[in-house]
């Protein structure tokens, strides 16, 4: 699609290397900030004591240790996963507008969870990540298939539109289920807005291992994505088995997206916006884009969640709503700058 400018070519290896520790520093800062501030003001001493000298009977320690810390961990994992998934999708589909939410994966996973819990009556959370994965995989395949079938192939526009269409369809089905079964649905209301509050951190026991594997896999596959992003012919010419690579990448993306949805509900825009911001700094080399996107995604979600927790105490705003509110204007700015 010529309407969208190719990413700036050229990576400065030195700048790229030097950025990693900087970003790690920022991540650490954002993480500590997330733990240090909140609706209740706690002294730094209390926070440190809670971390290193935990006293279960002091609620201030519980706040840091059991409320803020798990949530910060969740923000890091989910932010990194969604952002990395988005970066890979943008590379594989050569579509700068790819994003797990925009391309229907998120709504596929959400849809599967809604169907499983409200229609089929599943309640054991052990299955939820797997159900979400099935849904995300199904939606991804359907969206890609449709875009492939469109004359002209899987272009950014055809992928975006088929993703939007599938999302619209699935949300219409969810609404019909809502009308037919109000009570079960009311319990899913908060889950469906997406967010990090009140999430079940024990779910990490089930989704943690596959997510860690997928994150590592994503970073390892990243160098070959750069080649893939140049086009299938060039990649094949360079000896890359594009088919096998695409299947591996799809698996990584589906696992990351589905597990994120299982953990935090459907959160939009992280996977879309962060890789683009990263690309402005590190250029078009996926070797750098992928790890940077993961780090920056974690930072973004930590920041957004910190805002959601402290903006209007004693209330909390749903993280999902703020993610889109901040993400959408960024997206618009991006489109303005990137398309001519």
């Amino acid at each position: 699609m010529s309407a969208i400018a190719a990413p700036n070519a050229g990576t400065h290896p030195v700048r790229a290397w030097s950025g990693v520790p900087v970003l790690f520093g920022v991540l650490l800062f954002a993480f500590l900030l997330h733990i240090a501030v909140g609706a209740k003001q706690l002294s730094p001493g209390t926070v440190i004591a809670a971390l290193f000298d935990f006293d279960q009977t002091t609620f201030d320690h519980v706040i840091v240790r059991n409320l803020r810390l798990p949530r910060a961990v969740l923000a890091v994992i989910v932010g990194a996963s969604l952002s990395l998934a988005g970066a890979l999708m943008q590379g594989v589909t050569r579509n700068p507008l790819a994003d797990p939410a925009l391309l229907g994966l998120t709504s596929g996973a959400a849809f599967a969870v809604v169907i499983a819990t409200s229609v089929m009556g599943f309640s054991s959370m052990v299955f939820i990540p797997w159900i979400a994965m099935l849904g995300a995989l199904g939606a991804a395949l359907v969206v890609y298939l449709i875009a492939r079938l469109v004359p002209g192939g899987a272009t950014p526009l055809s992928l975006t539109l088929s993703g939007a269409a599938i999302s619209a369809f699935l949300s219409a089905v969810i609404s019909v289920i809502h009308l037919l079964d109000q009570d079960t649905f009311e319990n899913l209301r908060v889950w469906l807005t997406g967010g990090l509050a009140g999430r079940d951190i024990t779910l990490l026991l089930y989704v943690g291992p596959p997510m860690a594997l997928a994150l590592i896999g994503g970073v390892l596959l990243a160098p070959r994505v750069t080649v893939l992003a140049m086009g299938d012919e060039i990649a094949q010419g360079l000896g890359v088995q594009t088919g096998a690579l695409k299947v591996q990448l799809l698996a990584v993306v589906v696992v990351l997206t589905a597990c994120s949805v299982a953990l935090a509900g459907p959160l939009g825009f992280i996977g879309l916006v962060i890789p683009h911001i990263v690309r402005l700094y590190v250029g078009s080399d996926y070797r750098w884009i992928v790890p940077y996107a993961a780090l920056a995604g974690a930072v973004y979600l930590l920041g957004v969640d910190t805002i959601a927790r402290i903006a209007i105490p004693p209330r909390e705003i749903s993280t999902g709503i703020i993610t889109a509110m901040i993400g959408a204007p960024l997206f618009i700015q991006l489109v303005r700058r990137r398309t001519r």
């Binding site: 699609m1 309407a3 969208i4 507008l97 925009l102 449709i146 079938l149 469109v150 004359p151 002209g152 272009t155 950014p156 526009l157 055809s158 975006t160 539109l161 088929s162 939007a164 269409a165 599938i166 619209a168 369809f169 949300s171 219409a172 089905v173 609404s175 019909v176 009308l179 037919l180 807005t193 939009g268 825009f269 209330r315 705003i317 749903s318 709503i321 889109a324 509110m325 993400g327 959408a328 204007p329 997206f331 618009i332 489109v335 303005r336 398309t339 001519r340």
Partner: protein, 353 residues
Amino acid sequence: MSTAASHWVFRSKSERVALRLPVRALLALLLLALALLVISCVSLATGTYGVAFNEVIDTLRGLSVSRALDNVVWEFRFPRTLAAALVGAMMALSGAALQNTTRNGLADPSLVGVSQGAALAVVSLTVLFSDFSGALRPWAAFAGAILVALAIQGLSHTRQGGSAIRFILMGIGLSTFISSITSALMTYGDIDRAMAALSWLAGSINAASWSDVWTLGLWCAVLLPALLAISRSSAATRMGEATAISLGVRTKRIRNLQLAIAVALAAIATSVVGPLGFVGLIAPHAARRIAPAGIGFHLLVTAMAGAVLVSLADLIGRAAFAPIQIPAGLLTALIGVPLFIVLMVRSRSATSH
């Protein structure tokens, strides 16, 4: 398709006015009108208030079977049936006009933010102002739709002019932004007031009244001829700007006029029944497949196809799961998305523009 056999040609004596009527389009128009008539009849005879069909006919003939039946048929079913057809036609025409102006076969009022703008306006007024009356709702929706349309137009315009893909992407971006504000209002606003906006948000025709029908009908009567009047010029712009300029048409003004009409059609329809997805997208494509024709006839067939689609969606929505009512807006999405995908896969021009 411009062979002599596929057209009936009428000429006035002086041959200053010539009318070429494409047979296939005429036939399609007739068949669609027939389908609309059948659906409308079924719709008039269907409902929770069970009555025999002949009683409905009697009521329509002006014989009062009972006061309650008069009410059901005249105040509920009749305006509802008419409103469904009118709204469908208007959304379809809006889609056709949008597709023309953006020269993108995949443009639709709900994909370019018009519906979301209307929704935000209605929800924020309903939730934030306690004495917001139902009578103001159409105006609020209209204002919201227009503002968002202008914002998208402004944002997607660069010094080099607006591009079709930017327009669509801006629509997606701005729509998501606006939807997130709407959902914040729905989540954190006064829950009772948020509830009052729910059925409108789902795109429900269940409460269409005669005044709604008049509003829709009047605007339709104004905007449809206006759209047809500039159809010749818009046909020129459809061939690409270079050709159009060479034809001496002031492209820019026509595009803006068409865009204004498109937004107005969608905004008025949305203001009455709430956001109805995918009708504007499907109907023009369906019309083109059913009967390829010149722009004028194409618009008529499109309007008719939209009317049939929404009437059908409304009928299914209230009959399929009775006594539970499914809003037409959900059914247009459920029917519309698969159709949209088929059209996308089969269209030549979907991505080449």
